[in-house]
């Protein structure tokens, strides 16, 4: 069985290699991208259905102190996440064939997606933290490459660099967290760490998990390292789907869940996680409410939803978190792909440029409605069940302390705001008067390769909740649905009054801060970017004046010294004779004195 897991990881990797090094044909690239993804999806599904824990170690790398075991370990959690990753990746690959067909760099694009998938699977199946870290970093690289796919536009390349640097900032903490835990447990194997954490001191645990949390916050776009995610919308829409649903952001939550026993043993870390989650879920939801860019709405919603998962984790319910991760992966991928269809149709990201698409794009409308319903947590969509589980967990935890109560309240508030912004996006996109006259290029729906993944993804988005078969907690379920509908109702009431204008106007003066996501970017820019720039300038100046000065100075000194030497060869006969006579004089004096 371990061979299956290894194949699932390797196949997309080989696909990437084949796509990059293979023939320069779009057809070949498409096949080499789609087929391994499909096979991987099948293999991952097989692993998940088998439900048996599979593990195997390929080799042991002796490093002198702690050996690194290169191996895979498929737990139940890994198997499920692997299915999510491969399915979404497959959907994205198929969708991309239609979406990116006429793209000049389709080959490298699809190859990077394959590599991305492979790296995510490596993270998911890794048996060792170092191996996990390898996949983690490859994902960072791929996200950089894919977000910056249209690098000709300066803003895109900046967004890519931003994503790379912000996640890298977290990764530093992540790496040191790995070291702390690894040295604390005496092994980098995840199993060993989980079994040996009681031997570690609470301080080691807290420090290690907090450092890991930094990496998680970076990858899963949690406050305060969330700022890269909205900007990552610069990449192609399928990439957004991939990043938001299946790979990057899922990886952070997955790692916490995978190491959950360790985290559970560090209550301080969980509190920090809860605070981060509370801050992130409400802030991102409010920001989403004010955005005009459809993709940015979805991006902030991702932050918000991930924060809910993190909140569930902080409430010590890893299952609820993973459940929500799965459903969220399904419906968020669906939403992004639908958004891609819409954008493909109207050729703009802005909702002010949309409207009235309900009739033009019925399939898209239907599927996206499912997605929004899942996002709002309305039954019977999958989101209802998972969010209910998460809320229930948080509600359970709220009895334990004031802080947890505040977190729970925040989560409930978030549910209401989620209903509001989902409704707003839905209404602004599909209802109201058409903002654009019919586009000649794209009539009707998108191409089949784009539609089919959407339709296929709509099924789990709608039905995944039943698969897990956890009975809903009645109290929280009713409360959350009521809150969600309340938010939706307010937005609908405002929208009814004027169908052209943005319902976000009810935010009044708060709208601008919300739209700018509470100026976090500006604050970062003043707090970090500018000082760093100043420091860089100082370094450059130091390099110019001190280092270069030393180099130039040594050159000048050498010149001066050689000038001294050259003085003996300057062609002035008088100088020569002076030297000659002086030397003669010295000899004479010597002879007189010594003789």
């Amino acid at each position: 069985m371990i061979v299956v897991a290894a194949l699932a990881v390797l196949l997309p990797f080989l696909g990437a290699v084949g796509g990059l090094l293979g023939p320069r044909s779009v057809r070949w690239a498409a096949w080499v991208a789609v087929v391994p993804a499909a096979v991987s999806a099948v293999l991952a599904a097989w692993l998940a259905i088998g439900r048996a824990r599979v593990s195997g170690t390929l080799t042991l790398i002796e490093t002198g102190s702690l050996p690194i075991s290169v191996g895979l370990d498929v737990t139940e959690l890994s198997a499920l996440t692997g299915v999510l990753a491969t399915v979404v990746a497959l959907a994205v690959q198929v969708y991309s064939v239609g979406y990116m067909r006429y793209e000049r760099r389709y080959r490298s694009y699809s190859a990077f997606i394959s590599l991305f998938t492979s790296a995510m699977l490596l993270v998911v199946y890794a048996a060792d933290l170092i191996v996990l870290y390898v996949g983690w970093e490859i994902m960072g690289l791929c996200s950089y490459l894919l977000i910056g796919h249209w690098w000709e536009d300066r803003a895109n390349s900046r967004a890519a660099v931003k994503a790379f640097l912000v996640t890298r900032l977290g990764d530093v903490g992540f790496l040191f967290g790995i070291f702390v835990l690894g040295f604390g447990a005496g092994s980098f194997r995840i199993d060993d760490i989980i079994t040996r954490f009681p031997e570690m001191s609470p301080a080691t645990l807290t420090v290690g998990t907090l450092l890991l949390l930094a990496g998680v916050a970076g990858k899963s776009a949690q406050a305060p390292l969330h700022t890269w995610l909205p900007d990552a919308m610069a990449g192609p829409t399928p990439i957004s789907a991939l990043i938001h649903a299946a790979t990057m952001v899922a990886a952070g939550i997955f790692v916490v869940a995978r190491l959950f026993p360790v985290f559970a043993a560090a209550p301080g870390t969980l509190t920090v996680l809860g605070a981060m989650a509370a801050l992130g879920m409400l802030g991102a939801a409010l920001a989403a409410l004010a955005q005009d860019d459809l993709k940015r709405v979805l991006a902030y919603s991702t932050i918000s939803q991930l924060a809910i998962m993190a909140g569930a984790l902080a409430a010590r319910d890893a299952d609820a978190a993973i459940f929500h991760l799965l459903t969220h992966g399904a419906f968020k991928a669906l939403l992004f792909l639908c958004a891609g269809l819409v954008i493909h149709r109207v050729a703009t990201n802005l909702m002010s440029g949309m409207g009235g698409l309900r009739r033009v794009m019925p399939i898209t409308f239907a599927t996206m409605t499912v997605g929004f319903a899942a996002l709002m947590g309305l039954p019977p969509a999958s989101g209802f069940f998972s969010k209910d589980a998460a809320l229930a967990a948080m509600g359970e935890a709220a009895r334990g302390g004031v802080l947890n109560t505040i977190f729970y309240g925040t989560a409930l508030l978030t549910v209401a705001v989620t209903g509001a912004y989902a409704t707003r996006a839905w209404l602004r996109t599909f209802f109201g008067p058409p903002a654009v006259t019919a586009d000649d290029h794209h009539t009707g729906e998108g191409p089949a390769t784009m539609l089919w993944p959407v339709v296929v993804l709509a099924v789990p988005a709608l039905l995944l909740g039943f698969a897990v078969l956890t009975p809903p907690h009645l109290g929280t379920a009713v409360l959350s649905v009521a809150l969600s509908l309340l938010g939706a109702g307010v937005v609908y009431a405002v929208w009814r009054r004027d169908r052209v204008r943005d319902p976000a106007r009810l935010l009044g003066p708060l709208r601008v801060p919300f739209e700018r996501a509470f100026y976090v970017d500006t604050v970062y820019s003043t707090l970090f970017v500018r000082p760093v720039w100043a420091l860089a300038r100082l370094v450059v100046r130091t390099d110019d004046t001190v280092v270069d000065g030393a180099v130039r100075g040594s050159g000048r000194t050498a010149q001066g010294m050689s000038g001294l030497l050259r003085f003996a060869q300057n062609g002035n006969a008088q100088v020569y004779v002076s030297g000659l006579l002086a030397g003669l004089l010295v000899i004479v004096i010597g002879a007189v004195v010594l003789g």
């Binding site: 100088v575 002076s578 002086a582 004479v588 004096i589 007189v592």
Partner: protein
Amino acid sequence: MNEAPSYLSPTGHEIVFLLLGVVAVGAALLVVTTRQVVHAALWLVVCLGALAGCYLVLTAEFVAWVQVLIYVGAVVVLLLFGIMLTRAPIGRSADLNSGNRVVAAVVALATAVVLVTVVADGFRHAYVDLSPAGPVKQGTAEAVGAAVFRYWVLPFEALSVLLLAALIGAIVLSRTDIRGR
């Protein structure tokens, strides 16, 4: 070489010689320090004249007049000729001394100190009686002529060849209608 008398009771010869020597050294100093090229040449005349006087005191009569004839009459005239051909200006020239001046002064001073020390050490007691009653009377034209043509004929002839060579060399160097190669 009998016992040398004291330095504190100079003879007439010594007084004359010292006066001439002071003139010669002073004029020589002016030769190397004056800022006017022509003045340097004229101070050189004074210096060489004083030296001729010294030779006379030292009984080298013939050499003294040869000195005047050749140096003052020919060499200095040639020098002045050269100075005028190289457009020496009237008045001071600022650039007669090169940048090497300090080094030169140090070297020259050191030379003077060393040599004076050495000769003072070596010839403190050397004395020669120049009074008419003394033994020395050998600088006459007859004596010099006899010496040149009796003992120094070969160097004399070699010198003649040298002079011829110098003559031809100077002519070749000076003529502008002889092209090199």
